[in-house]
C-alpha cells in the first residue's frame, strides 16, 4: 500500500470513470435516435386515458403527464366503470355528470413514485427464511436474475417435473400470458387472486343461476337488501356508490345486513346487525315469510324456477322465531324486511365477501333465492346477468412435453376435490399441503406475481411454513412485501401506470377499457408480461404445432425481438378475435381508450329466442341445447326448449332454469367428504364462540385501502393511518375495557395487540377491524401500523368452492 501522487490518482479515477465497473449512470446522448431528441413525448403535457389498478375495479382514469412525469389523475368520463353499470344511464348522463373514482385512484401517483419501491433484482444471501429473518439481499443484474430463474425452471422441465411449479398471480392484470406460460411450460398449477375474493359468491350464484357474477341494477331498484357487503366504500367498482345513492334518491329503500355498521350501513335506511355466519338462516326465514304470506311471484316461478316445491317444504320450519335464536335479529324485523322486500318491485338482494365462512356458499344461495322467488331476476332494478363479452383469451396448445405434466393433478385437488372449484385455485389447500405435507407431490418452485400470501391468506404461521418449503421462490412485486422476504429472487414489478392491460366486465353490457403505460417504467424494468415473455423465450417454449408463441407476432406472424411490440400484437389479436374486433391502436384512438358496445344492457336475456338455424345445428340433451365441437360432440350450453317447443336462452343451469333445488348435488360430496345438500341449507359455521374465545372477530374493506397492498401509500396514509379493534360499548363495559385501551386479541393460533375503538355500530358479540394493517415489511410507512389478524385464524378452504375462509375466527379480548 502506498499513497499515490496526483497523476496516479487521476489515472486510477480515470479508469473508474471510463467504466472499469461496467457502464455508468450516463451515456452520451448521441446514442439516442434522432427523432427522440429535444422533445419528450409529453413535453407540452398530455392527458392519457387508462384504467386504474389500485384495486381490481379497473376504473377509467385520465393521467396528466408533463415532461414524462405523471402529475395528476382524474376520472375518465368515457369509461362506464367510473359512472354506472347500465347502458341507458351511461349514454344519457355520463357526459353531463362525469365519472368518479375513489381516493385510491387519486393516490395512484404515490404508488408510482413510492420511495420504497423495489428497483433492482435482488437475491437473498441468507439461506434461512422466516418472519423476522433478514434475507441479506444483494443486488443482482437482470441477466443474473434471468439466468438463475431460467436455469431452475429448465431443470424442473427437463426432469419431467414442470407441474411442480406453483404460480400465483394478481387479478385484472396480465393474467392471460401467465396462464399461457404455465400451459406451455407444463404446470397445471396456475392460481389467481379470485380465490381469496369472491369464489364463494361465484359458487352460490352458479348453483342458482348458472352465472357466477350477477350485478345489481341499483339505479332502477326500489328496494336494496345487501348482505355482508360494503359497496359504498369497500374495494370494488367506483360506480357502486353512485348507482346505489342514485337509487336511494329515486326512492329506493336501502337495508344492510351486517354485523358491523359499515359505511354502507351507515347510509342505509335500516341496519340489521346479526351474528357472523348466520346470514343463510336469516335469508331462509325471510323466504319462509314470503312463501307463508304468499308474496312470491308465482308466475315467474312456474315458468323459470325449478325445485320450488322442495324449497317451500324446506323453509316451512325456518320461521322468524327459529332464525331469531340463530341470528339475534328480532323475528319482527325479519317479518318486516321480508314483507317489504317481497312487496316492493323491483327489488334486489346481493352478498359479497359475507360468504367467507363454512356455510357461505349455501348462505349465498339462500340469499339469491330471495330474488328468485320474488321474480327479481333479469329485470330493471334487480339482479342482472352481465353480458360478458370482451377480449378473447387465445387458447394455446401445449407441446408434447408439457402435455405430459399438465396431466398431473392440480396440487390443490382441483375440481376432483372441490365441487365448485374455480380456476383461480384453492390457496388455503395449497398452503396446508405445502406446510403439512400431503397432496399428490411436493412442489419445488414458486412464482408469486404481485401477491402477498402472508397477509392475504389467513393462518400466518402456516403460510410461513409453506413458503419455506419451496426450494426456489421468485416474487415479482413493486414492493418488498412480507412474502417477498421469503423469495430467493425478487424481481421489480411495474405499477399499472407503467404497463398495458385490457379490462372488461363490471358493467352489464360489453365494454373494454385500455390500461396503457402513461410513463415509462421508472427503473427501466420490464413489465411483467415482458418478464414472462423473456422466460418463455429463454426456455424455448413451443406450442403444440411447433409455433414460437413468445417470439412470433400474433398479428404480423413475423418474429419480433421487441417484447413490448410482441405483447402489443398479442393484445391486438385478443381484441380482434374478441367482441370489439379492433386493434390495439384503434382502441387507443377511441375516446377515453374505451370501447363501449352500442348494444347496451339487455334485460330478460333468458327469454331471448335462439335462432332456428342454431337450434337445428345444436346438440340436444333433454330440453337443453348445446353448441357442437368440430367432432359433433357436446360443447357449451346455449339454450333450452320450453314445454311448448320454443327455443330460448334460459339460464345456464342443468335444468335451464333458476335452481332452488340442485338435483345435480345428489350423491356428490364436498372436499370434506360430506354429502352436498340439494337445498341451500343452513348449518352453523364450524367455529363458534366458547368460554375461552367468546367473541366473533370479523374484518372488512374500506375505500381508503386495497387489501394489504396499499398501506405504504403516503396519500392514503393521510386519510387513515391505521385501524383499531372496534368493540361494542356494552361489551367493553362488561369486560372493563375503555376507549383507546390497548388490548390483547387472542385465539388458539396466536395473539396481537390492538387499540380499542368503542362504538355502538357493531354487534355486541363481535369485534372487528379493517383488513390489511399490521405490516412488518412492505415499506417504511406501512410497517408497524395496526395489527394483522390473519395470525389468529387457521388456514381453511370452503369445502364446496375452495374459497379461503378469512372471516371465521373467534377470539378473547383482554386488557394489555
Amino acid at each position: 500500500m502506498h499513497p499515490i501522487n496526483r497523476r496516479e490518482f487521476l489515472k486510477l479515477t480515470g479508469v473508474v470513470g471510463s467504466g472499469i465497473l461496467g457502464a455508468g449512470a450516463l451515456r452520451p446522448l448521441k446514442a439516442i435516435a434522432k427523432e427522440e431528441l429535444g422533445r419528450g413525448p409529453y413535453d407540452n403535457g398530455k392527458w392519457i386515458p387508462s384504467c386504474c389498478h389500485m384495486c381490481g375495479g379497473t376504473t377509467g382514469i385520465m393521467c396528466q403527464v408533463v415532461d414524462g412525469r405523471l402529475v395528476r389523475i382524474k376520472p375518465n368520463n368515457h369509461n362506464p366503470v367510473g359512472f354506472t353499470n347500465i347502458s341507458d344511464d351511461f349514454f344519457a348522463n355520463a357526459d353531463k355528470e362525469g365519472a368518479v373514482m375513489c381516493p385510491k385512484g387519486n393516490a395512484g401517483i404515490m404508488a408510482l413514485y413510492d420511495p420504497d419501491r423495489v428497483r433492482q433484482p435482488l437475491r437473498r444471501t441468507n439461506p434461512q427464511k422466516g418472519i423476522g429473518i433478514d434475507p441479506q439481499w444483494k443486488v443482482i443484474s437482470w441477466e443474473e436474475a434471468y439466468s438463475e430463474i431460467v436455469s431452475k425452471l429448465k431443470n424442473l422441465r427437463d426432469a419431467g417435473e414442470a407441474h411442480q411449479l406453483l404460480w400465483f398471480s394478481e387479478d385484472h392484470c396480465f393474467t392471460h400470458i401467465q396462464d399461457d406460460f404455465c400451459k406451455l411450460f407444463g404446470t397445471p398449477n396456475y392460481n389467481m387472486h379470485s380465490n381469496l375474493c369472491d369464489v364463494g359468491r361465484k359458487a352460490s350464484f352458479k348453483i342458482l343461476m348458472g352465472d357466477e357474477r350477477p350485478l345489481i341494477d341499483a339505479i332502477n331498484s326500489k328496494y336494496m337488501l345487501i348482505f355482508g357487503w360494503n359497496p359504498l366504500s369497500a374495494t370494488k367498482w367506483s360506480h357502486l356508490p353512485r348507482i346505489i345513492t342514485r337509487g336511494v334518491e329515486r326512492g329506493a329503500k336501502l337495508v344492510v345486513v351486517d354485523p358491523h355498521l359499515s359505511y354502507t350501513a351507515s347510509k342505509a335506511h335500516q341496519w340489521v346487525p346479526l351474528r357472523p355466519g348466520t346470514d343463510g338462516a336469516l335469508a331462509l326465514a325471510m323466504a319462509h315469510v314470503i312463501l307463508r304470506d304468499n308474496l312470491q311471484d308465482q308466475a315467474f316461478i312456474d315458468e323459470w324456477v325449478t325445485g320450488f316445491t322442495e324449497f317451500r317444504e324446506y323453509v316451512k320450519d325456518k320461521t322468524p322465531q327459529w332464525a331469531e335464536g340463530i341470528t339475534t335479529v328480532p323475528a319482527k324485523t325479519i317479518e318486516q324486511v321480508a314483507r317489504e322486500f317481497a312487496s316492493t318491485k323491483p327489488a334486489l338482494v346481493d352478498v359479497w365477501s359475507g360468504t367467507h365462512h363454512t356455510n357461505g356458499v349455501y348462505a349465498g344461495w339462500a340469499i339469491g333465492s330471495l330474488a328468485v322467488i320474488t321474480g327479481n331476476v333479469e329485470k330493471p332494478g334487480t339482479l342482472v346477468l352481465p353480458d360478458k363479452k370482451g377480449n378473447k383469451h387465445i387458447e394455446v396448445e401445449a407441446d408434447e412435453a408439457a402435455k405430459v405434466t399438465l396431466k398431473q393433478p392440480r396440487f390443490d385437488g382441483g375440481k376432483d376435490k372441490y365441487p365448485y372449484f374455480n380456476k383461480s385455485g384453492v390457496y388455503a389447500e395449497i398452503i396446508n399441503r405445502l406446510s403439512k405435507g400431503g397432496g399428490p407431490y411436493q412442489p419445488k418452485m414458486g412464482m408469486i406475481v404481485f401477491q402477498n400470501l402472508l397477509m392475504a391468506v389467513v393462518g400466518t404461521k402456516n403460510v410461513e411454513t409453506a413458503l419455506r418449503k419451496f426450494e426456489f421462490l421468485v416474487v415479482v412485486d413493486t414492493m418488498l412485501s412480507e412474502t417477498a422476504e421469503f423469495a430467493d429472487i425478487v424481481i421489480p414489478g411495474t405499477t399499472y401506470l407503467e404497463r398495458y392491460d385490457l379490462n372488461n366486465h363490471w358493467v352489464t353490457w360489453p365494454i373494454l377499457g385500455l390500461r396503457q403505460p402513461v410513463v415509462k417504467p421508472l427503473f427501466g424494468q420490464p413489465a411483467e408480461y415482458e418478464f414472462v415473455c423473456e422466460l418463455g423465450r429463454r426456455l424455448g417454449l413451443k406450442e403444440g404445432n411447433g409455433g414460437d408463441f413468445f417470439w412470433t407476432g400474433h398479428m404480423s406472424h413475423q418474429r419480433i425481438e421487441d417484447k413490448t411490440k410482441w405483447y402489443e400484437e398479442l393484445l391486438s389479436k385478443e381484441l380482434k378475435e374478441g367482441e370489439p374486433k379492433i386493434t390495439l391502436e384503434e382502441l387507443k384512438a377511441l375516446p377515453g381508450a374505451t370501447w363501449v358496445s352500442k348494444n347496451g344492457t339487455k334485460y330478460n336475456k333468458h327469454t331471448g329466442a335462439i335462432a332456428p338455424e342454431k337450434v337445428q345445428d345444436a346438440f340436444t340433451e333433454g330440453a337443453l341445447l348445446f353448441s357442437k365441437k368440430k367432432d359433433g360432440s357436446k360443447d357449451k350450453q346455449i339454450g333450452m326448449l320450453k314445454a311448448d317447443g320454443t327455443a330460448v336462452r334460459g339460464f345456464m343451469t342443468p335444468s335451464g332454469k333458476l335452481e332452488l333445488y340442485a338435483a345435480k348435488h345428489t350423491g356428490k360430496k364436498d372436499a370434506n367428504g360430506k354429502e352436498l345438500s340439494p337445498l341451500p341449507a343452513y348449518e352453523p359455521r364450524e367455529w363458534q364462540p366458547d368460554d375461552k374465545y367468546p367473541l366473533y372477530l370479523i374484518n372488512w374493506k374500506e375505500a381508503s385501502q386495497t387489501h394489504s397492498r396499499t398501506q405504504n401509500n403516503a396519500f392514503l396514509a393521510e386519510i387513515k393511518s391505521t385501524d383499531g379493534l372496534r368493540m361494542n360499548k356494552k361489551t367493553a363495559q362488561r369486560l372493563g375495557i375503555s376507549q383507546h385501551d390497548e388490548v390483547w386479541v387472542e385465539s388458539p393460533y396466536g395473539k396481537v395487540k390492538m387499540k380499542i375503538e368503542l362504538t355502538e355500530g357493531i354487534h355486541p358479540e363481535v369485534v372487528g377491524t379493517q383488513h390489511g394493517w399490521g405490516h412488518w415489511a412492505l415499506g417504511r410507512i406501512a410497517k408497524g401500523r395496526g395489527a394483522h389478524t390473519g395470525i389468529l385464524a387457521p388456514t381453511k378452504p370452503c369445502a364446496l368452492s375452495g374459497q379461503s375462509l378469512n372471516k371465521e375466527i373467534c377470539v378473547n379480548v383482554t386488557k394489555a
Partner: protein, 230 residues
C-alpha cells in the same frame, strides 16, 4: 469555494482530479465494489486521496481511512450496499434528490372524495420519487449531451448519476456549470444523505465513503441554493 491555482496547467490538472473524484464516488453509489476495485481503493488509498483533494474546507488526513480487511468483505459490502441504498425498509437511505427536495402539491380540484374536501387549499407532501428535480436534472443531462444509460435501471436524480454528471462537466471544462449544478441540485441534499449514511452504515467501508465524500465536497461548503428535507 473552488480552489484556484495560479498555474494554468496545475488548475487543469486539479479540475481533472476533481472529475476523477466525482467518477470515483459515482462508481461507489452505482453498485457495490467488486474485488478488483476494492483492491485498487485500498492500495492507492483512493478515498483518502479524494478527501484530501481540497484543503480549503477540511484538514487533510494524515492517516489513510482505507482498511485492508475490506478486500475480504466483498460479499458483506454488497449486502450492505443493498440494505443501505436499494432494499426498501427502515435502514434504507433513499438516494434521490426528489425524495429530499421536492414537494408534491395535491390539487383538490379533481378530488372526488369527501376525505379530501374537508381540507382547504393545496397540500404539500414530501418523500416521493420522480419529482421536478428528476425532470430538471434529466433536462440538464440532455443539454450537455448525456442521457441515462438503459443499463443503469434507475432514475436520473440518483446520487450516482448526479455525481457522474458533475464529473463529466469537469472533465469537459464546464467548471462554472459544474459548480452551478452542485448548488442547484446535488448540494441541496447530499449533505443530508451523507449524514444519514455516516449514522446508519454498519461497515467501516461505507462510513469511510461518507466521510471521504463529505471531505471531497467541502469546497462547496456554504454554497448552495437551499437545504432540503431533514
Amino acid at each position: 469555494m473552488l480552489p484556484k491555482l495560479e498555474n494554468q496547467e496545475n488548475q487543469a490538472l486539479l479540475n481533472q482530479e476533481i472529475a476523477g473524484g466525482y467518477f470515483l464516488f459515482a462508481s461507489l453509489f452505482y453498485q457495490p465494489p467488486r474485488q478488483d476495485f476494492l483492491k485498487m481503493i485500498i492500495e492507492a488509498q483512493l478515498l483518502t486521496q479524494a478527501r484530501n483533494i481540497h484543503h480549503q474546507g477540511i484538514e487533510p488526513l494524515a492517516k489513510s481511512i482505507e482498511d485492508p480487511r475490506w478486500l475480504h468483505q466483498e460479499e458483506k459490502i454488497a449486502v450492505e450496499f443493498a440494505s443501505l441504498f436499494v432494499v426498501p425498509g427502515q435502514g434504507m437511505i433513499t438516494p434521490y434528490e426528489s425524495y429530499y427536495c421536492d414537494t408534491l402539491i395535491i390539487d383538490h380540484s379533481t378530488a372526488c372524495s369527501p376525505y379530501f374536501q374537508s381540507q382547504e387549499g393545496s397540500v404539500g407532501l414530501k418523500g416521493f420519487l420522480g419529482g421536478n428535480s428528476n425532470q430538471s436534472v434529466q433536462a440538464l443531462y440532455k443539454k450537455f449531451g448525456f442521457e441515462i444509460n438503459p443499463a443503469f435501471f434507475d432514475l436520473p436524480d440518483h446520487v450516482s448519476a448526479e455525481l457522474e454528471f458533475i464529473g463529466k462537466l469537469y472533465e469537459s471544462g464546464y467548471y462554472a456549470e459544474a459548480e452551478n449544478f452542485h448548488q442547484k441540485h446535488l448540494g441541496r441534499w447530499v449533505g443530508l444523505f451523507l449524514n444519514k449514511l455516516s449514522g446508519q452504515a454498519k461497515s467501516s467501508f461505507y462510513r469511510a465513503v461518507a466521510e471521504s465524500l463529505q471531505g471531497f465536497l467541502s469546497m462547496y461548503d456554504g454554497r448552495r441554493d437551499g437545504k432540503c428535507l431533514d
